[in-house]
Subunit: 218 residues, 2 copies
DNA sequence: TATTGTGAACCGGTTCACAGCG
DNA sequence: CGCTGTGAACCGGTTCACAATA
């Protein structure tokens, strides 16, 4: 709920949630900040400080209850209610995303694909109905879309983004290796593997066989 | 060359390089830090400070020469010499990566795929020969592999990583939504779209229709 | 006694103002 | 005169030490 949370903290909360999910599936029911920290590759201070932004979830002397903390993190991250998702751009990447399992694990619900290719529009890809970009407005209104995966070619990225903004989609997960500009009321999170690859090249070049790094990533 | 460069700076250098490439293709030959800053969505101070870590590339009074600065950034980022890449895990994602164009644009050369599925090993996917994971050591030695794209299932990620480390691959671009652990002499950069998606959910939930964000991403 | 929760110190990156220079 | 390059101020996130408490 509060404001002023470092975005690095949010990234780590996502990791803690993953760790807790793993621990739970291994039957571990309690864990200390030390334990969580080791699994997440951060310091125990960091774990406690990150959690402290949102409240007190542990028991002094004995640590955290895995199931409880996991649920708190899901709640904090907004992963308890369903998010309705469309995929914009049903090329190779869009199709790979459409087939990704695990998505409904946290209530991300793929409701449709969008493309401009007449041979795709109207068909099903996987079990996703593909609509034309021109029909975006109705689609978004009817399906109350929360999030769009942007997976179009670079040249089409800004135009598709503008269309999403006009249609009222509040969140965009951008897979396109370019900067897209949106008004302040729209949230964009980027997943740019080319940028990651170039950073990697830099670190390799600067410290050949001698760099330590574990980067969070969009 | 120097040490102690903020990794955020490296991320931004990648963006500047992209901007400069765009400007060059538009026939723009000179640009000020103000101009670059606007295109990259950062402040002009930031652009100058980032560049200052590596030297002086501009001309006082008239800005930067696009072509020159672009080449400097390519050199700084290590994008002038070829990088030899293998893809580990030739599932849907691995295949999408194998087909990605633009990769050789900066001299990233896909040399092979790796999988454990007998029906894939020995075949060509796209034009990539697929080897068995057990033959990784020879493959890496023969092909002098610099970078591995890790695109295996979550359960197999750490084991595949260990194999890459043993085989002597110095850099890993990790697409798997999990934390992989490596010794200090190996560099890992992660591209985790599920993490990005969860962060997006958080920002949407915390500031419904009222969040500004432009995230860098792995 | 063990481990959390947190105010304060520390550190590093960003912002800024201006000196340096074409 | 304009724009770059940079030392210094500022700010925010991380680290730490320790008080609180089961």
């Amino acid at each position: 709920m509060p404001k002023g949370i470092p975005s690095a903290t949010v990234s780590r909360l996502v990791i803690y949630l993953r760790v807790l999910t793993d621990l739970e599936s291994e039957g571990v029911s309690r864990a200390s900040s030390d334990h969580l920290a080791a699994e997440a590759n951060v310091s125990a201070f960091q774990v406690r400080k990150d959690l402290a932004y949102f409240g007190s979830f542990g028991t002094r002397g004995s640590g955290y209850t895995v199931a409880t903390l996991k649920n708190e993190l899901r709640r904090i991250l907004g992963l308890t209610r369903p998010w309705r998702v469309i995929i914009v751009g049903m090329g190779r990447l869009g199709q790979a995303l459409a087939a990704y399992p695990q998505l409904d694990q946290y209530d991300f619900k793929l409701v449709a694909g969008v493309d401009v290719d007449a041979s795709k529009v109207g068909s099903l890809i996987g079990d996703l109905p593909v609509h034309h970009l021109d029909d975006l407005h109705e689609l978004v209104a009817e399906q109350t879309v929360d999030i769009a995966f942007l997976a179009v070619p670079v040249d089409a990225a800004q135009a598709a983004t503008d269309a999403l903004v006009r249609a009222g989609v509040p969140g965009i997960l951008n897979f396109v290796p370019t900067v897209v500009t949106v008004p302040a009321h729209v949230t964009v999170e980027s997943v740019d593997f080319l940028a990651g690859l170039k950073r990697l090249a830099y670190f390799l070049q600067v410290a050949p066989h001698d760099g330590e790094r574990e980067a969070a990533a969009g």
